[in-house]
Symmetry: none
Subunit: 464 residues, 2 copies
């Protein structure tokens, strides 16, 4: 079998290029569902690369749902992979940052999940991008623009999301929004006019998702999450018309949607004519391996991919996007045209500059280093100070889940932590747990913060 | 012809790079509408690439509207290309600027109502305000903010709208939005949850108002307008729950809502528990006396006052506001919190700086002088060149209504004007009339433009 893989002269790691080539081969139909892949040894020899690279690439694509490992018969293309290859879509994430509406004692340390390090926002570069944009943008562009948002940014995002997240898209299937929440509301408005009534949301999950569903006058139907992500069997019984998922890094559990769940989810959507909405809120922060590629890449015809700069840069920029399947691109654009403006053209074009110049990539490389250091310090301190807790969801994102000793009241821990100037959030899942966000926690504060958290846990214990 | 295309060392496919280079050449004006492109064969030879790549790139750019294939004469730059690339798509945004969704011959003069002079947007001052904001804003403010928007701008607007428009408000009754259209949609969403079903809209009026009502799943009920503005007697018979009005300068007629109508409108709203929504879109431009004060000042308990910077600065900033009655401030803020983000904190705080420093007032003084000169030139030229037409709605705003001789077909005049490179809009009211917007019409062009309009009117006449 000749796969026509060409991993020669391009950019990126060898492994990344091999993954891209394989994804492309599946999407383009050169590899079809059920096809067996060469053994890692054979392919490595063929390509003149090390076998480890091939093994890792196969593993990555298995995690993303493109491939399946079949015991006794090697690696095959997954049943539903890549169908509808030209149609893309996607919805990522924003505000996992439900700040309380009531005042709380001023916290010295913000440990809520869902915020990046605001101190490292590249202010000077952003100011320069804005100023350059204002110097060069033709007058005409200061008018009412395309309701979908500035074409420069839609083009830049199509390239960027393809490269960084394996999203299959093009500028005319992207609609810019004021962030993920605004994007979800826009989507519900457009889909409600086409009969959408019930939307599944992950439980536990980000309350903002359900809030947008309810605000749109629709029904939000909770669907359980376990260690493999959304429980698709429960989804199948729910009778919903759409579901919002966080496949790369479930919020708040940190579960990665398992390959067989990915396949089952896509099969469900195709069978029912239902819509998957992928909230890709912080998928770019992964510490043990490359980020898990987007679900949208696997089923661009059935997935809306949503994202924003809230975790990549800062929420205050208020820029997000929806990548839509072909059949929804027109209706969603039209709904936006009727109900909203285009958004700030100056900020949109400035962001396109940041992406095109490679500044965003450089910023993310710096950020990943920063968060990796904080994460390691947090894990070490938790092991030292709070050995009775287990930690999960640490492989990716900007928070870890601290599973409390059984019998512990998570809300009491949150209160005790607040008394120690720590602003924390409870997980509200099946086991008592708190979420420890380290996006804004300087490495040098980790030890004292975790010590204070350990005290809070002990004070909150029954009989303490 | 040397196109200065450089598709050498960059990322992406050859075809993609060629497309980008061509788009750039059109946007930058190196290729202008009507310019012929080299044949695919010639360009392929020039660039040393395969002809198929050039053909595909031409096809793509034709689909995107940048190029047109003219039978017998090859490929040319499209009429509308490069005016930002966005405007030919039929998806453009907002306000009183409903560009047609079908392509039209490129207009040399944009005479549609509803746009300010984009060339006088204070770019340097805006860049300075953004840069200063980025230098001074605390990190914390780059987080998810108050869903109502930045408090600095809500405070600045409370002062400014009180001073300039007689609006009675305070920061906690203001919600910032992405423009008037976005604001109306937000309001309908919040009111729909409280039982709102039918919304009165002015007839004739700005189609964008009705579009927001329909997009929210509500009924838009037309209510007649005459020389004294909205016919309140008709409103009383309509059974609507709310009505959107343009009292200071009715769009498009230019009527000012008469004092007795104002009183009757407010009495109706109080009697019925109905909601008045004041669209104050260009009330600040009045030439014969001070602007007519806001209706909201008369009945702050029953009026939502909506506005934006679209006419004051430029639509591309995408900043607007709702000033809400006490009883609606909470529900609308809560609905925004559930369904949208806060908007760009950097641009909001920058606008607050522009207001607080007096820059916005200075800009408006300059703008009023500019528009007054254009308006006087337009009125003089119309009297000279088109004495058979009557003019109305000239006391305020950025357009005049040209009432055509009876029997004249307004759509035919619009077509004839388009053939003369004038982009005009028909009034679609009771009498044949066209709207002549002068916001973007330089004074030195007025004479020739009005002469061309007079020719268009005569050509469109029955028996002409």
């Amino acid at each position: 079998m000749d796969l026509h893989l060409s991993i020669g002269a391009r950019e990126g790691s060898l492994r990344g290029r091999l993954e891209n080539e394989l994804r492309e081969a599946i999407r383009a139909g050169r590899l079809t569902p059920g096809d067996g892949l060469p053994s890692s040894r054979a392919l490595a020899v063929d390509l003149g690369i090390s076998r480890g690279v091939v093994v890792e690439a196969y593993e990555q694509l298995t995690a993303e749902g493109y491939l399946v490992a079949v015991v006794g018969s090697g690696t095959r293309v997954a049943a539903d992979a890549g169908r509808g290859g030209d149609e893309g879509s996607g919805l990522e994430g924003q505000a996992r940052d439900e700040l309380p509406s009531v005042a709380e004692p001023r916290a010295r340390h913000h440990l809520r999940p869902g915020l990046p390090d605001l101190a490292s926002f590249p202010r000077r570069r952003w100011a320069a991008a804005l100023t350059d944009t204002l110097r060069e943008l033709p007058d005409e562009r200061l008018s009412y623009g395309d309701a979908r948002g500035a074409v420069e940014l839609r083009e830049a995002l199509a390239g960027y999301l393809g490269r960084a997240r394996g999203v299959s898209s093009s500028a005319d299937r992207i609609v810019l929004t004021g962030g993920l929440r605004t994007g979800l509301s826009l989507l519900w408005g457009a889909l409600a006019a086409r009969g959408l009534r019930r939307v599944g949301i992950e439980q536990p999950g980000w309350p903002g998702q359900g809030a947008t569903v309810v605000a749109a006058g629709l029904d939000a139907v909770p669907v359980a999450v376990d260690g493999d992500g959304l429980v698709v069997e429960e989804l199948e019984r729910s009778g919903v018309d759409a579901v919002v998922v966080t496949p790369a890094n479930q919020f708040p559990t940190g579960a990665v949607l398992a390959p067989e769940r990915r396949a089952a989810l896509v099969a469900w959507a195709r069978r029912e004519g239902a819509q998957i909405v992928e909230d890709d809120y912080d998928a770019q922060y992964r510490y043990d391996r490359d980020p898990v590629g987007s679900l949208q890449g696997l089923a661009p015809d059935r997935t809306v991919h949503g994202g924003s700069v809230s975790k990549l840069l800062a929420p205050g920029l208020a820029i997000g996007w929806l990548v839509l399947p072909e059949r929804l691109a027109g209706p969603v654009a039209e709904h936006k045209r009727s109900s909203q403006g285009a958004g700030s053209v100056i900020e949109q074009v400035a962001l396109a500059r940041l992406i095109d110049s490679g500044e965003l990539d450089r910023h993310l490389r710096r950020s990943r280093r920063l968060y990796r250091g904080r994460r390691e310090a947090v894990l070490a301190a938790l092991a030292r100070e709070l050995p009775e807790a287990r930690v999960s969801g640490a492989a990716a994102g900007l928070h870890v889940v601290v599973l409390l000793p059984s019998g512990c009241d998570e809300e009491a821990v949150v209160s005790e932590a607040a008394r120690r100037s720590l602003a924390l959030e409870a997980m509200r899942g099946r086991e008592p747990a708190v979420l420890l966000g380290y996006g804004r926690l300087p490495e040098e504060s980790v030890a004292s913060v975790v010590r204070a958290l350990a005290e809070a846990v002990r004070s909150a214990r029954p009989g303490a």
